[in-house]
Amino acid sequence: MQDALTTERAALKETGGITDGSVAVGVKPSTPRSPADVRPERVRSFDPEVFGAPTGREEEWRFTPLPRLRALLDGTDSDAHLTVTSELPEGVELVEVPLTDLDLPAPVDRLAALALQRARTSLVVRVPKALEADAPVVLTLHGTGTDEVVWGSVVLDVAEQARATVVIEHTGSAHYAACVSVLVGDGAALQLVQVQDWADDAVHGAHVASRLGRDASLVSTQVTLGGDLVRVNETAEFTGPGASVELRGVSFADRGQHLEHRLLIDHSVPHCRSNVVYKSALHGDEAHTVWVGDVLIRAGATGTDTYELNRNLLLTPEARADSVPNLEIETGEIAGAGHASATGRFDDQQLFYLQSRGIPADVARQMVVRGFFADVVEQIGVPALEERLMATIEAELERAFA
């Protein structure tokens, strides 16, 4: 990983891609920076009314096509559910618990607060203390229609010293608003993969809220492929020193899709580490990805080491990738902090090189895109899933260039 990052940084430096904001290489800049990027105090609350109804002018919502998300912001009550199927390794339990019984990180926006209020109960995956799960926990959440909003909550509770891999897959049709609360205890390690492979009409808004204990480790990968609109707000906070969080993501947006990932890593205790790698490929009219990466290093978070990288690959000129890295540092005593963002077109030189070796254009394109996503997908750590995701990405690519 470190090698890839070093190369990436060198490459970005060469192209002038490292700046204080978003940079477009060979394309018109997609995301002008404005004072609005420097965010006011972040509000977190379980009460939806604290946030008010978004108008689209807020920094939080300015990229989101609100009409398409409206049902998830209105808060109409519903009993609709997703169909849940699960695979549980020995020792791991899946239970349904009233939300009032749980102590969870507070929501960051109205949608998430509504989800926790309306869902009433939560699915809870419990990995007991010191258990080393011998197989991935797999939850498949399947939607069967968009008539009613599904309000959902999932809690992943990995107790101290435990180790587990959890895969959550979203499929089918739904209007789904959810909170996924990720509690990683002292010295515990969680590898989390969430796959958004929805049908074309799905709308999915979520808050993934992680809380890490001392020396805990979380690798969270978001794979977002399907759905009309997917907007995931992922936050990470630390309760003790020595913890490490990796937030990774790949998305492939095609015609008309809006795929948005917003991250907030809140460093408030010393000697924690965070690393972010998000990559998206876009194809077709109105294909839109948004990546906003906020990292906050508070005064007490000395010795913090953080790096963020976002890369976007425009396969056609009509697609749009917005990219806003944002780093706020309140102490000078850190180990390292940086970010890089670049948006580029499909590299004709790479295509030419591969084709000049006899490789047909479609195969060459596939190799380049596969290579672009490889460093994220190949680190998921669940080989069968890695293969399937690459195959899905390749199918998207084939459709895109058909």
Binding site: D3, A4, T7, A11, D347, D348, Q349, Q350, F352, Y353, L354, Q355, S356, R357, G358, I359, P360, A361, V363, A364, M367, V368, R370, G371, F372, F373, A374, D375
Partner: protein, 269 residues
């Protein structure tokens, strides 16, 4: 016997004529050196033969055993037997050398080489070029040194066994050891007698290792003089001065007079 025939080739980049009428015939087993000052259009000739989209052919013909090369896509040209060793090989992040080589061999040979045999073939070819086996797991050209990039190009040359190979400034940026290794690789391919080689170079240095059958002097987008290996010796002594002031200084595309767009044959062979 394979013949690459270039007749009256004119090529433009963004409306500026770079090649002003190139005539050249290369047969398998022959080695031709094209020498010329910077900016004379040598690399343009290489890229035009390979079909790079940035270069627009405005006139003339290129045929390979009578087949119209200019009508072929880039990958079709490679499958027809053309190969370009690039001066600046391109990085392809996330694509390993072994995956790349096998994909290329599969495309050029028309079927995937049997895995076990392929592993052996690749390993032996790498050994001959004094390349570490770990090299195969690295990403194509990513973080390669100048020497590694050129070895990798010649590795492909040996594995793909093209009918005509164009080597574009393969000697540039190589230290003596790397130059020797790379030249030996080219000489192995020449020794088969199956491949015609077009060696493009600014300096005579590589010609101490690879003796050409023909030397062509390239100035202002065309061949202005032809001869045997002795011509290279003369260039080594006297440089390009005798070909005029434009040949001495790097030639800027913009200073070119507007030439005929569809130039006829210029230099008789």
């Amino acid at each position: 016997m394979t013949v690459l025939e270039i007749r009256g080739l004119t090529v433009a980049v963004e409306d500026t004529e770079i090649l002003t009428g190139v005539d050249l015939t290369i047969r398998s087993g022959e080695t031709h050196a094209i020498m010329g000052p910077n900016g004379s259009g040598k690399s343009t000739l290489a890229y035009a033969i390979a079909g790079h989209p940035k270069y627009t052919v405005t006139g003339g013909t290129v045929t390979l055993d009578g087949e119209d090369v200019l009508a072929m896509s880039v990958d079709e040209r490679a499958r027809a037997g053309l190969f370009l060793a690039m001066q600046y090989p391109v990085e392809v992040p996330g694509v390993s050398v072994s995956n790349f080589l096998r994909s290329a061999a599969t495309a050029v040979r028309g079927e995937a080489p049997k895995l076990r045999l392929w592993v052996k073939e690749q390993k032996e070819a790498m050994g001959r070029l004094e390349m570490d086996p770990a090299f195969a797991e690295r990403n194509v050209n990513e973080g390669f040194s100048g020497g590694e990039k050129k070895r990798h190009e010649i590795l492909q040359l040996e594995l793909l066994q093209p009918r005509i190979a164009v080597l574009d400034e393969t000697d540039s940026g190589l230290d003596v050891d790397a130059l020797r290794v790379v030249s030996e690789g080219v000489n192995r391919v020449r020794a088969t007698g199956e491949t015609g080689v077009l060696l493009i170079t600014h300096y005579t240095r590589i010609l101490n290792y690879i003796t050409p059958d023909f030397v062509h002097v390239f100035v202002k987008g065309r061949i202005v003089e032809q001869g045997g290996p002795e011509l290279a010796d003369e260039l080594e002594k006297n440089g390009y001065a005798k070909y005029g002031p434009e040949a001495k200084a790097p030639l800027h595309a913009r200073s070119l007079p507007a030439g005929p767009v569809f130039g006829g044959a210029v230099t008789p062979a």
